[in-house]
């Protein structure tokens, strides 16, 4: 089944956004754990920063990522004419 150009463009944009957000997810998770001792030198709201990230900071980033993806994709659907009626 041949896909039109706009369809392919849609999928490529989706892949790019997925990769970018996956990178954000990765950065909010693994380096934050690996470098926790270094981060703990700083402090935020009274918490050592590394502790804060694992307890609250990374969680806020996750919520934001999922919110942004839903918004971005729902707009992209419309732009490329693949949105549900």
């Amino acid at each position: 089944m041949p896909l039109s150009k706009t369809h392919q463009e849609y999928w490529n944009k989706n892949l790019r956004m997925t990769a970018a957000l996956l990178l954000v997810w990765f950065l909010a998770t693994f380096p934050v754990i690996w470098f926790v001792r270094d981060l703990n030198i700083l402090s935020f709201l009274g918490f050592p920063l590394g502790f804060y990230m694992a307890a609250q900071g990374s969680l806020i980033i996750y919520v934001a990522v999922v919110w942004f993806y839903a918004r971005y994709m729902n707009k992209l659907d419309k732009k490329h004419g693949v949105a549900e009626e």
Partner: protein
């Protein structure tokens, strides 16, 4: 089309109104109980009323949502709006372990416990990016359905069914165990009766209305559980810091905890107590080495002691009883002796161990131990995340939204509602630690608050004044993780109605997760095995009957397993994540993102991933295999997922590409609406 959209809107508005009234009603109900308590209503009544009201509510929703429609039974008619599906997923996700156990883990492990917080929230990023919208577009009934359609044939489907049941069953047993624990404690009935009361509550709901009833009950359960979690945390924060926002204030409290830690960790009496525990453990170790002779010696000692008491001029009845008891409690044979004594020595060593500061990441004596702890933290967080994005009872919730668009939004709402609890849990752990370190440790054992004795009776709190100074040192206090949350209202000096509320919340968390898991298992059997493999021409009523009978059977088997109070099963719960991650994640994600993935690759990938994961789990846990890179069995998915992923890719490339129809199915899943679709018809 416009009218369908309109209908959705009307449905959404009336749902919002119902649940708005319901939430208000629940708050009113709790307030009334609080007033009644002030006027002298006994605590036991409060427990009964809470249990009766919540069970009655869930059963009522179940009865109102009864259905004979296949699509309603399996996927709630696919008309659950994003926000409500988010709440249902939240209740589905937040289990007895998240609600009760996790606060305790955070209290006991400090920073290292946060792997659970990150893992159980970060996983939803993967659900959003890789799975939810595509599975919704695919739009069947179960996760093995997707595997069956994407990879063709019943073999891949069967592996999926096997893995789904394996991951869900231990998990559901633990939920039912939790239900038994809470209802037995708050209704003062025995544990087994508690379990069957709980099972009745689950079955009324899921048997009558399947996914539809479960969904609407879960929304109600979410409301109860989040109120039940937040009320004590907010009140505790208000009491300690005068600000009712625990998440903001916990940092300052953590600083005070850290200061206090320095004092109590280095208290000479604390050091002495630890030394005494260590001595006692060494004595028991010597006894284990001296088996079987040492057991005979112990028995002689006990018998001689009993004889001496009996021979005394005025024998003391209670002393005789005590001595007889300790003689009876001696292990009967060498194997039993080894087991009990080893357990005892472990407990003593745990008390003797140096406590570590709450905020310190990866504590350990040397750099190597610390590095292994860091690696374990990362592996565990990764396994929990990937497992989240692979557990069938979570993924199937995204089949129930009206559209792909709402499926995406619904992942956001799910994560948001889950986040509300996980965001507060580390703060609660810090606040409770502050209370215990400042109010309990260092005070006289004779006048400890009443909750210590109350929870001591059920064995969740243990105090052992080993240095006999009459003052409680940190090493002398042993807390079971479950007690932290359950006792929070009492620790904070809140009225009993809050304790009842917390119990109702824990019950809601356990019941809602158990509902979904039982349905997942029963659906895998009735839909995937019976309908898709055995009798594809079965009529709708027949399929419904089979589903319900299987649901009942699975529930009874799970309840029976829970009633045996299996230690192993409970420690196996965390395995579910590694199992699901290793078996499902590669096949699901590559099935959507890589058209070249084929049947043989999926089959080999799932088998190798699952096999690797199980091999590692069982060898490390039961056969004493040295862990690879020091990674604990709980994070076995760290090996299973890469192995499965790699095998899937290699085997797919070595075998022919999948047929055009399969590739078209993949394209169909990738676009919410594909106009050039084969004549507009769905695959």
């Amino acid at each position: 089309m416009a009218s369908r959209k309109n209908n959705h809107k009307i449905f959404f508005l009336s749902l919002s109104r119902y649940y708005g009234f319901y939430t208000g009603g629940f708050i009113g109900f709790v307030t009334l109980l609080a007033i009644a308590e002030q006027m002298g209503m006994p605590n036991a009544w409060i427990g009964y009323i809470f249990m009766a009201a919540t069970f009655g509510l869930y059963a009522g929703i179940g009865v109102m949502s009864r259905t004979a429609d296949i699509s309603e039974y399996y996927v709630a008619g696919r008309r659950v709006p994003a926000v409500f599906n988010g709440m249902a997923t939240g209740a589905d996700w937040l289990s007895a372990a998240s609600f009760i156990g996790m606060t305790g883990t955070l209290y006991l492990s400090g920073y290292d416990g946060l792997a659970f917080i990150m893992g159980w929230t970060g996983g939803f990023v993967l659900v959003a990016l890789f799975l939810a919208p595509y599975l919704r577009k695919f739009g069947q009934f179960t996760i093995p359905d997707f595997l069956g359609a994407r990879y063709g044939g019943n073999v891949v489907r069967s592996v999926g069914v096997f893995a789904a049941i394996l991951a869900s069953f231990t998990y559901v047993v633990a939920q039912i165990y939790g239900v038994g624990l809470i209802s037995s404690r708050f209704l003062a009935i025995d544990f087994t009766t508690g379990i069957f009361v709980g099972i009745a509550g689950i079955l009324v709901c899921s048997m009558l209305g399947g996914m539809k009833a479960i969904t609407w009950t879960q929304v109600a359960q979410y409301v109860i559980l989040i109120i039940a979690y937040l009320v004590p945390v907010v009140m505790l924060s208000q009491r300690i810091t005068d600000v009712p926002v625990p998440q903001l204030m916990a940092g300052q409290v953590l600083q005070k905890v850290s200061e206090r830690e320095q004092e109590i960790f280095n208290d000479p009496q604390q050091l002495k107590a630890r030394e005494l525990f260590s001595h006692k453990a060494d004595e028991i170790d010597a006894r284990i080495k001296g088996l079987p002779g040492s057991l005979t010696a112990e028995r002689h000692n006990a018998e001689r002691g009993l004889a001496r008491i009996k021979a005394a001029a005025a024998p003391d009845a209670s002393a005789i009883w005590g001595a007889e008891q300790s003689l009876q409690n001696l292990p009967r044979n060498e194997i039993e002796a080894r087991e009990t004594w080893e357990r005892e020595a472990d407990k003593l060593r745990a008390s003797a161990k140096a406590p570590h500061p709450h905020a310190e990441p990866f504590p350990g004596e040397n750099e190597k131990v610390r590095d292994t702890a860091r690696l374990n933290f990362m592996a565990l967080a990764a396994c929990l995340m990937i497992g989240t994005a692979a557990l069938p009872h979570i993924l199937m919730r995204f089949y129930t939204t009206p559209s792909v668009k709402e499926a995406r939004q619904s992942v956001f709402w799910s994560l948001f509602f889950i986040f509300l609890l996980y965001f507060s849990a580390p703060a609660l752990a810090i606040l409770v630690k502050f209370e215990i370190y400042t109010k309990l440790i260092g005070s006289s054992i004779a006048d400890l608050p009443a909750w210590v004795a109350a929870w001591g009776k059920v064995g969740l709190v243990r105090i052992d004044d080993i240095n006999r100074d009459g003052i409680l040192q940190l090493a002398e206090l042993t807390l079971n993780p479950d007690v932290i949350l359950l006792a929070t209202p009492e620790i904070a000096g809140l009225p009993y109605v809050v304790s009842g509320l917390v119990a109702a919340g824990g019950l809601a968390a356990a019941l809602s997760t158990a509902d979904a898991l039982l349905l997942t298992i029963a659906n895998a059997l009735s839909h995937d095995v019976y309908y898709k493999m055995i009798d594809p021409y079965a009529s709708t009523p027949r399929r419904m009957i089979i589903s319900k009978i299987l649901l009942l059977l699975v529930a009874l088997v799970a309840a029976y397993c829970a009633s045996l109070k299996p230690d192993h099963i409970l420690s196996m719960v965390a395995w579910a994540f590694s199992i699901a991650a290793s078996a499902f994640f590669p096949a699901l994600v590559l099935g959507i993102f890589w058209k070249r993935a084929n049947k043989w690759g999926a089959l080999a990938g799932m088998a190798v991933g699952l096999g690797m994961c199980l091999y590692y789990l069982v060898s490390v846990k039961f056969y004493g295999m040295a862990p690879w890179f020091g990674i604990k069995d709980i994070a076995a998915g760290a090996f299973g997922v890469p192995a499965g992923m790699f095998t899937l890719v290699v085997v797919s490339l070595l075998t022919p590409a999948p047929e055009t129809e399969v590739q078209e199915l993949v394209e169909h899943c990738r676009y919410p609406q594909l106009m050039v679709d084969t004549g507009g018809k769905s695959v």
